[in-house]
């Protein structure tokens, strides 16, 4: 079943087409990768899906309903959570409350603060957060801030997760752990849509991959197909 689909999605910044007539679809339960050189429009596409931007033309549908043009909080409550390329956490707020905010506001129904805190604690354990949970998130290391951000997204009880370069800036060991985490998230029943620059990671975990270049889709298919695509190799390695 298609959980997310986009039809001729287009966004301009001034005269520049950041995303140009991109068609895509994500199946329920898969890990879908998005790659492309810098400035290809990957994060812009995420911003269009999560409601930060409204597309100039084209339609985005989530679980069969049109979401393009809706406010971010509404899209989140429909079951679409995200993380950010440059980690966006609430620095002065304890890690656990960063996560419980997601449970309190992002979910489909209301819950008590105690229940939200309990769920937040479990999710922090799930993402491998091992330092004290009441430390203000701003004082954490990068990898732990990213864990908090992922746990916050999971806390909204989303069906789909947009992960924007979760592995950027991590050590090789941390990257391996993050790959493992992405798989575990999928096994929990989430559909994952991820942007990644670390090729080993994306080839290792994704079921399907889409490639953007100058705002246009140039290829999509299994990791095997992408790795052998002439067009993709041209874009990444030059002619």
């Amino acid at each position: 079943m298609r959980i997310l689909e986009g039809e001729k999605v287009t966004k301009y910044f001034g005269g520049l087409a950041a995303v140009s007539e991109v068609d895509f679809s994500v199946e329920q339960g898969e890990i879908f990768g998005l790659i492309g050189p810098n400035g290809a429009g990957k994060t812009t596409l995420f911003n269009l899906i999560s409601g930060a931007f409204t597309p100039k033309s084209g339609v985005i549908k989530f679980k069969g309903k049109k979401i393009s043009g809706l406010k971010p909080y509404k899209i989140c409550r429909m079951g679409m959570a995200r993380t950010f390329q440059e980690v966006k956490i609430f620095g002065g707020v304890p890690a656990i409350e960063n996560v419980s905010l997601g449970a309190l506001f992002g979910g489909p129904k209301a819950m008590s603060t105690a229940q939200a805190t309990k769920e937040a604690g479990e999710l922090l354990d799930f993402v491998g957060f091992t330092v004290p949970k009441n430390i203000p998130a701003g004082g954490l290391t990068l990898v732990n801030q990213k864990r908090v951000e992922i746990a916050r997204a999971l806390a909204t009880k989303a069906d789909m997760l947009l992960l924007d370069e979760v592995m950027a800036g991590l050590t090789p060991t941390e990257t391996a752990e993050a790959m493992e985490l992405v798989k575990r998230i999928r096994d929990r029943g989430f559909t994952v849509f991820m942007i990644e620059h670390v090729m080993k990671a994306i080839m290792g975990v994704c079921d399907r991959i889409m490639v953007l270049h100058h705002g246009e889709k140039i290829a999509d298919g299994t990791p095997q197909e992408i790795a052998t695509s002439k067009k993709v190799i041209e874009v990444y390695l030059g002619e």
């Binding site: 409601g51 905010l101 506001f105 430390i135």
Partner: protein, 325 residues
């Protein structure tokens, strides 16, 4: 196994001390002089304004300079309705009118951020003042109006009541999930929106709720001043002073703005009435700059730091867990 003891102690501090304080304050007019009742009324007014301001601006970091507009609405409510109904209803109507006005203000201005928001709220106060001047002079052919006078004790008790309600509201706001949403907005608005918080609604509602207390305080204070005009009602000092008090006291704790307001009012009074009155603004400015440079988290920040140091010392340095904070 002394957790229950700690909790009991904590509860005693949170509820016991304020309760004793309020009871003592409520008996004050029976024993204290009329001079002190008046003086305490001013303390209470500034505490209400500073705490109410902090409910919204302290959490979100949106510096509102619109306080005097809401205070002024209360004053005008007292001037227009004071003769025809009991004070309690005027206070409620003044609070409600401020809520409505703040809701509209918020809907217009809360799209702006940082300095633009501060400037716009400042401009709205001026606009309000001039509009009412214009209306009074050209349409009604008068300037200002009389307010029905209330006794010093009545004013004191009303302010005490509003103060208690304001503190309770601020306390629960801070602890509720609404408070968490506000702080999150203050830290990273975009992330809050993408985590399911209806950012616009939370901001506007809180801004409007904080205005209720300012409006209610305005109603009561107006009955002290007997004659008001837009210049008195929409006095910009009412916008600035609570901001400075909250910064001075510290906004990380509910008692910060209270302590800030008390000390600030006291310093102001000492400086303006003593031998130093010619240097009032000069000394005041120096104190304020010193406070901001040396106490970025306000007086409460300094106190909390000291308490933390004492605890650490008593535990013999076994608080490694908090090292990162």
């Amino acid at each position: 196994m002394n957790f229950s003891k700690i909790n009991w102690k904590k509860n005693a501090i949170i509820w016991g001390i304020p309760l004793v304080g309020v009871i003592l304050l409520s008996f004050f007019p029976q024993y204290g002089s009329a001079y002190w009742v008046t003086r305490l009324s001013y303390f209470l007014m500034y505490i209400i304004l500073a705490v109410a301001w902090t409910i919204f601006s302290g959490a979100t970091g949106y510096i509102s300079l619109a306080s005097s507009a809401f205070f002024g609405v209360g004053i005008y409510a007292a001037a227009l309705l004071g003769e025809s109904m009991p004070l309690i209803f005027v206070v409620l109507i003044g609070g409600a009118a401020s809520f409505v006005l703040a809701f509209i203000f918020g809907a217009i201005t809360l799209r702006l951020r940082g300095i633009y928001f501060a400037m716009f709220t400042f401009g709205l106060v001026l606009l309000f003042k001039e509009l009412i001047y214009y209306y009074e002079i050209t349409v009604e052919g008068l300037r200002g109006r009389f307010v029905v006078l209330q006794s010093n004790d009545t004013i004191y008790y009303y302010l005490l009541g509003i103060f208690v309600v304001t503190m309770i509201a601020a306390y629960f706001m801070r602890r509720s999930k609404f408070g968490l949403a506000l702080r999150s907005i203050g830290q990273n608005e975009e992330a809050a929106a993408h985590t399911g918080v209806n950012v616009t609604m939370v901001k506007i509602l809180t801004f409007a709720v904080s205005a209720i207390f300012m409006g209610a305080a305005g109603v009561v204070m107006a009955t002290k001043w007997t004659y008001v005009d837009p210049g008195v009602a929409f006095n910009l000092m009412i916008s600035f002073t609570p901001v400075l008090m909250a910064i001075f006291g510290g906004m990380g704790n509910i008692y910060g703005p209270v302590i800030g307001a008390v000390l600030f009012t006291y310093i102001q009074e000492v400086l303006t009435t003593g031998d130093l009155k010619n240097y009032y603004m000069l000394i005041f400015g120096a104190v304020l700059i010193g406070a901001i440079v040396f106490m970025p988290n306000g007086l409460m920040g300094v106190i909390q730091k000291l308490v933390g140091l004492v605890r650490k010392w008593r535990k013999g340095g076994s608080v490694e867990q908090n090292a990162n904070t």
